[in-house]
Symmetry: C2
Subunit: 333 residues, 2 copies
Amino acid sequence: MEVLIGDPYRLDPLRDWDGRLRECNRDEIPGLPSSDGEVFFGLKRGAPMKIIETVKEMQAYAESLRIAGKKIAFVPTMGYFHEGHLDLMRNGRKQGDCLVISIYVNPTQFGPNEDLAKYPRDFERDRKMAASVGVDVIFYPPNEEMYPDNYQTYVNVEGVTDNLCGLSRPGHFRGVTTVCCKLFNMVKPHVTIFGKKDFQQLTAIKRMVIDLNMDLEVVAMQTTRETDGLAMSSRNIYLKPEERESALSLSRSLKMAKEMYNRGERDAGVIVNKVRTFIGDHPHARIDYVHICDTKTMKDIERLGGEAVIALAVRVGAARLIDNYVFGDPLEI
Amino acid sequence: MEVLIGDPYRLDPLRDWDGRLRECNRDEIPGLPSSDGEVFFGLKRGAPMKIIETVKEMQAYAESLRIAGKKIAFVPTMGYFHEGHLDLMRNGRKQGDCLVISIYVNPTQFGPNEDLAKYPRDFERDRKMAASVGVDVIFYPPNEEMYPDNYQTYVNVEGVTDNLCGLSRPGHFRGVTTVCCKLFNMVKPHVTIFGKKDFQQLTAIKRMVIDLNMDLEVVAMQTTRETDGLAMSSRNIYLKPEERESALSLSRSLKMAKEMYNRGERDAGVIVNKVRTFIGDHPHARIDYVHICDTKTMKDIERLGGEAVIALAVRVGAARLIDNYVFGDPLEI
């Protein structure tokens, strides 16, 4: 089923989010421009946002764009947007003629004891936020479209997923690379934009794209942070007010690591120990891991030489928070 | 490096197969038509055959065809062609505007004790045979293009690869599905043609294409046989003359199974036992497996009801031969 929101060529009827057709007035449609504007591939640019729920329609639309010589930029997400997502979309808006995002909470990347059921979802909120940054298409497939009966194929990136979250969350990266492979085959993008906050995920996606010869550019973006330094995450809503100070231990310890590096420290063990001690002094924080790794292989290193990342996973109350810093990158906290 | 064979727009020079440029005459070029014929995307249709050795060039060429609205048909092969390969190509010729084949002996689908090193190869012979059936592009990548350093990504189709050759050849199907996923991303076909001789492989490829949402049609073709019934295979060259009679036990036992089925036998065990006894009576034949399976799941079945296949793997001398029969299909022996 395809729903066109505010397409000027068929303004009414519009669908409710429960799928029922209803009549509506022009001013009910968010983001509809007052003038007609530039015609863009049958849709008015910047105005109507397409919502597609089936693989077949997504592929047909993507193929029609590609044949017309349009460049497709793609931001895959699990929804419940924050400024970090919007920054990825703003970047995507610049990269392509058509900006597609997906909203799908992918069950195969959650472990049996993880937060799949309570992961925050709010499509109506997401839809408005996406429209505000000029998204052209939201791909919003239901589970039956993604994993129909008899589903049995998985994409495994080996080496780079062994360490860090690969140890704490067995099967997680298999779920991530599989769903991204599927989404890339559905959306057929020329360029895809990922955040550096999930650094190991980014590394695995880059590796998959190279190894499986996907004809696709992967663009990485710096982590977007709250003004107090906390890396933005949909999971930050799990934090209670009294846990906030402990949650800040992640970004603050990264700043500490950066300063040690800038003062000439090259012994990874020394930096890791300082960071562990600092985080460990916070009452609500339980360290899952602190590693310094080579950014290409994600293997632990002893001395800082080539491009390296310090990566943290820390439980603060009900939230499992991750953050990282690539030595030499900017870190504005 | 890209080599154009007999492109009428740059007839000379032509490259030797060791890569040296040389001058040649028009009549040296296999398959060049006497008249100019129809212009096809900058090449003369039916005449010159393109040989592409890099992923980058293959993708760029495929993309240019797709943007021009041309339909790409693709036959992946390991070379050393026989009539079975040529039948796949003849079918592919009808399916698309551009027929691409690949020749690549894929190391990741061979086990450590298998015949990778001695697998037959003859590119010059293959090139001429491909030209004779109207192939437009041979994609002929070296190992470095397919599996560069740090390669670490694999596509696993689970259920359907557990039984049969999945038991005898651990890792084999992982290699097959991985290399096909890569080749599909390189060649960007609209349709791909596989033979039914490798029935479990066909099932795994179909499953991968569905599960990973590859926008691609998989066409299956009946097994091509020698006049005596032996299923064509590049590995038949391993057979010694005195082993030929034993090799025929495969197709003859399938004919026997077909006749039992046509007479009303529905007990899979009864058919399997008859077949095992028949093959076992041949002096050079050592049975690897005889199974009757559901064609969708590749799980053993006890009674014939839905679509079912009898699949055999038998060692005859140095050759490991496979053959199968889908009950209800034609079997011309």
